[in-house]
């Protein structure tokens, strides 16, 4: 009889340990978090590159509580064009993150294409290109895991592109890069939550064990 009880107690302990381990594992997994740009990061953005038949020009035209509005235009632009808006020569330590995400609001009267890139100086990771319709906001995400030097991100930028002219003879784009919370505080809370659950379960098991004795 005692043997059976001890077996049950052992089984309970093992199952609690398994629950605790899975909670800790999930917390550890979610600690590989998403990073987004803050106000100062975005204010430092400027045009760093362009492609197409004519040169692109960009400027910051508004700053408010939500983000920074940019203008990118092509004088007499025709055909496929693109421009990169971002920062170079950075030394960002993103080793705690596995995803770079940025929200973009298209203020223009036409749909424009956007993508997001991050580089560690050796290679560049670029998100898929998405078309954002007028007055629509969408988030772009790029996986950072393939980058070898996550502790030294040197370049981040968004790319805007289109086949010009767009309807209405449009060669001028207006878009807003929104601020976001820089680090998602999910890992810390997960750690606390799972630890407290584990402690509660442990105390309860001990009490029931002592009661049965």
């Amino acid at each position: 009889m005692n043997n059976k009880k001890s077996k049950i107690a052992l089984f309970k302990k093992i199952s609690q340990a398994a629950v605790l381990f899975s909670a800790l594992a999930s917390a550890q997994f979610s600690s590989a978090a998403m990073v987004s740009l803050n106000l100062n990061d975005i204010l430092g953005f400027s045009q760093i590159n362009f492609s197409g038949s004519v040169s692109a020009q960009s400027a910051q035209t508004n700053v408010d509580a939500n983000g920074v509005t940019f203008l990118t235009f092509w004088v007499l632009g025709d055909g496929e064009v693109s421009a990169d808006i971002g920062s170079q020569g950075l030394t960002l330590d993103w080793s705690a993150f596995d995803t770079f995400s940025q929200s973009i609001l298209n203020h223009d009267e036409n749909t424009w294409n956007f993508s997001l890139s991050a580089s560690d100086g050796i290679s560049t990771q670029t998100s898929s290109t998405i078309g954002i319709a007028p007055d629509q906001e969408q988030s772009l995400s790029v996986s950072l895991l393939p980058l070898a030097n996550l502790n030294s991100i040197t370049e981040i930028y968004i790319t805007i592109s289109a086949n010009l002219p767009l309807p209405g003879l449009d060669t001028v784009s207006e878009y807003e890069l929104s601020f976001a919370v820089n680090e998602v505080p999910l890992p810390a809370s997960s750690w606390f939550f799972s630890l407290s659950i584990a402690a509660l379960l442990f105390v309860r098991t001990k009490r029931s064990a002592s009661c049965s004795e």
Binding site: A59, Q60, T61, N62, V63, D64, V68, T69, L71, F73, W74, V75, L76, G77, H107, D108, E109, N110, P134, P165, L166, P167, G168, L169, D170, T171, V172, E174, E176
Partner: protein, 226 residues
């Protein structure tokens, strides 16, 4: 007597035909009374430096005109004005014209206000103001997203204008920044105006009236002769 009446009949017919021709000529002349900047003149327009930090560029050209961009940077707030003008080397003699009209299309997603100015070297005359609504894509709604800026040279305000020495024509764009809480970028098209958009159909009515009058008199004369 018969010869005299025949002569008078022929004579009055000739007079009527001459009158009819004169009226037709007059109506044709009045058709060409409106003037507008043509596509070459529009495409040659340059930004006017007014001390305000407005930046203007031509971003597209068509057979009918050009698309322009005027923008202000993020520190510019409140009422702001930007202008595009004919170059310094440009001048015109508009003594044969009675009005000026220019078609403006708002190509931006936000509403902007437009006006035009004419400089005769002594004074600057400014047109009516038009606030044109924003657009989506390439939709154009007459009198909503596009409109006509005009000068009627026969009005009292413009009777002193020296039409022989027009030295510049400017397009002014303005807004209270930031428009829609974010927008400091205006996109607009200045289009060459081909036809007279005067709502009074003067040439057609004159033609009809004069031809009907001529026919009536001719018929009366013919009846008299018979």
């Amino acid at each position: 007597m018969k010869k005299l009446s025949k002569f008078l009949g022929d004579y009055s017919t000739r007079i009527l035909l001459t009158l009819c021709f004169a009226m037709c000529f007059a109506t044709t002349s009045s058709w060409a009374s409106m003037v507008s900047l043509n596509s070459d003149e529009i495409q040659d327009m340059v930004p006017v430096d007014q001390g305000a930090p407005a930046f203007s560029f031509i971003t597209n050209e068509t057979d009918e005109g050009a698309v322009f961009l005027t923008f202000w940077l993020s520190f510019q707030n409140g009422y702001s004005l930007g202008s595009m003008s004919t170059p310094i080397s440009w001048s015109a003699d508009w003594t044969e014209h009675t009005s000026f009209q220019q078609r403006i299309v708002n190509r931006d997603e936000s509403p902007w206000t437009f006006s035009m100015s004419i400089d005769d070297g002594s004074n600057v005359y400014t047109s009516n103001s038009l606030t044109l609504a924003g657009v989506s894509g390439d939709e154009i709604t007459p009198n909503v997203t596009e409109g006509i800026l005009s000068f009627d040279f026969s009005t009292l305000e413009l009777e002193t204008i020296d039409l022989a020495n027009i030295s510049s024509v400017s397009l002014n764009i303005s807004g209270i920044l930031p428009v829609n809480n974010y927008d400091r970028v205006a996109e607009y098209e200045v289009a060459f105006e081909v036809g007279d958009l005067n709502p009074v159909p003067l040439p057609a009515s004159l033609l009809l009236f004069s031809s009907a009058l001529a026919l009536l008199i001719l018929r009366k004369n013919n009846n008299k002769t018979v």
